[in-house]
């Protein structure tokens, strides 16, 4: 399956090699699977749990154990803190 992943702000640094040029997102192909959980994706991308705020699948807010399917577009945002 192939999905598109968009990482925001500080989360980018964990996947530097995956981004082409100035792009904000990259395509990710996962062999031998036709479904993967959001949770799994986060660990696959080496993003520490405590830095992840929340994520959307095709622009809709989702839970961590929601499945991602071929062709989905995932956005992952860092946690929000205020001062």
């Amino acid at each position: 399956m192939v999905i598109t992943v968009e990482l925001f702000h500080t989360l980018k640094k964990y996947n530097k090699e995956r981004f082409k040029d100035d792009e904000n997102s990259f395509e990710l192909s996962i062999d031998g699977r036709d479904e993967i959980l959001l949770d799994e994706l986060v660990s696959l991308l080496n993003i520490p749990d405590e830095e992840v705020g929340f994520a959307t699948i095709n622009s809709v807010k989702h839970n961590w154990n929601d499945p991602i399917k071929d062709g989905d577009r995932i956005k992952i945002f860092p946690v929000i803190i205020a001062g």
Binding site: T10, E51, G53, F54, N63, F77, G83
Partner: protein, 592 residues
């Protein structure tokens, strides 16, 4: 004072012109910052008098380790709030803490009322109350530059001042600190106005030898390294707090159009990136902060026909963009800056102002108020008229605008629309509609701010889980207590992750205060207890708060909230407060 066993308090009485300096050993039991300020407020206020009575005090305090460690930058102001009628507590960065430290004062207490408009200058060698008649009516930017030009003297300075809104006693008038920071919330500006005090300048460069240089520098270097290596550093320096706009909107927690929604379809257009691309011209920091989260944006305004333009620069951050952007349906960066500029010039709190305007737009649309009253065809997104309305509020041009200047609770009670006047215990809502944490957190927080206990943060990390009432109450109360400690040093909350208990103890040790964790917890609880006592004496009870219905109609990040559940959580919190109030304060004896 560092390495001393007392707190040095400067007392200024504007009625009599008397100045007095106290060395208070007993105040060490409150560490510094919010602790010392709470105690001084309790001693000096009169719960039976209205908030703007001349006998009510203004307290400023710096923390126990202000300015000499990274990101320990803030000053606290405490007063009786003209907006809520109860505890007034507000924080500002800039240079104020730094200059107070170097002028040699831990706290300043201002009482009385001047006979004519005045400004106060505080230096290490003396205090003066000076004529400000010609400054009355000026916007806060202008008066800042006049004082800058008029006052000489060595050392760095900090100038804090009010605009027309404070003079006219708007209940949520702010005090501008060094152009880009503010004592924003809860109406300190009106308290200044009620004392006919336009401004205060603090300068200082007292020599302060470091007796234990090695330890100090080791600690400083360690903390500096930790701060500059945290996420906060990159995140809040690069795009600034506005990077929260997009994710909050996507997760449905960005209050939009008077909280009719938690998602703003134009969030991308007013995101941190959009501001950076369109308007950002400079970044700045409070004195002592390597992060530098202050973002200055510029926009162009036509002030006359015939291509007469001026370039205007104003500071922007998440709270401003929420309150004057998404909350009012303003969908472009220039428009948001346009309204921010009006709020700045007049010296109002942006969040309160935005929420009041949100109510006004909806009330007009529903026919609760008329265009005759609003003078302008106020509507969501029309930033030019919204900015004009800001002027009208500050000037109180008619009865409606005067009422709007008293806060959304007041105006909605009087004209109607209580259920969509978005306040919590009289304070206009902060920019987080994320769940029970944010809502109940602001309700039970001592000053009804999202920063009392960061309830939004709880919502975020527990989003997928079932609500656990006990756990939420535990979280809120322990966070509130821990923040009493952070705020007695006074650490900018962006760096709170860096300032673990271990680091706090290390820092305090460097300035001569060697405390155990236990003592620190006792102090933090003592501070909260003092604040709760103040609130009680001013008649506040959690049970009396009636939240507007809309909080329960518009889904949050964690789904729709239930009013009964919210009340239950709040009541449980109230019960815990009673426990804290009833606790015997044994350890205070160590200090007296």
């Amino acid at each position: 004072m560092f390495y001393k066993d007392y707190i040095r308090v400067l007392n200024i009485n504007l009625s009599t012109g008397r100045i007095r300096v106290d060395k208070r050993k007993d105040l060490r039991a409150y560490l510094g910052g919010v602790g010392v300020a709470s105690k001084l407020l309790q001693e000096n206020m009169n719960p039976d008098l209205p908030p703007l009575h001349e006998d009510q005090p203004i307290i400023f305090a710096i923390g126990a380790a202000s300015s000499v460690f990274p990101v320990i930058t803030k000053t606290v102001a405490m007063f009786v709030s003209p907006l809520t009628g109860e505890l007034g507590e507000s924080y500002a960065g800039g240079r104020l803490a730094f200059t107070m430290l170097h002028a040699g004062y831990d706290a300043i207490v201002i009482t009385g009322k001047s006979q004519k408009p005045c400004y106060v200058t505080v230096t290490q060698t003396g205090v003066e109350i000076k004529d400000a008649r010609a400054f009355w009516g000026m916007d806060s930017d202008k008066v800042g530059s006049y004082i800058r030009n008029r006052e000489h003297g060595s050392g760095k300075r900090s100038i804090i001042r009010i605009g027309p809104a404070g003079e006219n006693l708007c209940s949520y008038a702010s005090v501008c600190v060094d152009t880009y920071r503010h004592f924003g919330r809860l109406g300190l500006g009106a308290v200044f106005g009620s004392k006919l005090m336009k401004a205060m300048q603090v300068t200082g460069d007292l020599p302060m030898p470091i007796p234990n240089f090695k330890d100090y520098f080791k600690t400083y270097s360690k903390l500096y390294k930790q701060v500059t290596e945290t996420e906060v550093m990159a995140k809040y320096h690069d795009a600034g707090t506005p990077i929260n706009v997009e994710p909050l909107s996507a997760m449905g927690g960005l209050p939009t159009r008077n909280l009719t929604s938690g998602t703003f379809e134009h969030a991308e257009n007013i995101s941190g990136e959009a501001f950076a691309k369109n308007n950002l011209i400079r970044k700045m920091a409070c004195t002592g902060c390597p992060v530098g989260c202050i973002h200055i944006g510029q926009f162009r305004r036509e002030f006359d026909h015939g291509y007469e333009y001026e370039a205007i620069s104003v500071g922007y951050d998440y709270e401003l963009i929420y309150a004057l952007g998404s909350f009012l349906g303003v969908d472009n960066t220039d428009g948001v800056l346009y309204v921010i500029d009006a709020v700045e010039r007049n010296g109002l709190d942006a969040m309160s102002c935005g929420v009041v305007l949100g109510w006004a737009c909806e009330a007009l649309e529903r026919g609760i108020i008329t265009e005759e009253q609003t003078i302008l065809p106020l509507k969501m997104g029309d930033y030019v008229n919204l900015a004009k309305a800001v002027d009208y509020i500050a000037q109180g041009v008619n009865q409606l605008y005067t009422d709007m200047g008293k806060g959304v609770k007041h105006v909605a009670k009087k004209y109607g629309g209580y259920d969509f006047g978005m306040q919590i215990a009289g304070n206009e809502m902060p920019g987080y509609h994320t769940g029970y944490g944010s809502l109940v957190g602001a309700l039970v927080g001592a000053r009804h701010s999202h920063l009392c206990n960061a309830g939004y943060s709880y919502d975020q990390s527990n989003r997928d889980k079932e609500l656990d009432k006990e756990k939420l109450v535990d979280y809120l109360i322990s966070e509130e207590i821990e923040r009493c400690l952070l705020n007695s040093l006074i650490i900018c909350l962006f760096a709170r992750k860096v300032y673990s208990r271990e680091n706090i103890r290390m820092v305090l040790k460097c300035v001569g205060l060697d405390y155990t964790d236990e003592t620190l917890t006792d102090i933090a609880k003592r501070i909260l207890r003092t604040k709760l006592e103040i609130k009680k004496s001013l008649g506040f009870a959690i049970q009396d708060v009636k939240l507007p219905k809309r909080f329960f109609e518009t889904p949050t990040t964690t789904g729709k909230l239930d009013q009964y559940m919210a009340n239950e959580i709040a009541e449980e919190y109230a019960r815990r407060c009673e426990e804290i109030l009833a606790e015997e304060d044994e350890s205070i004896k160590e200090f007296v």
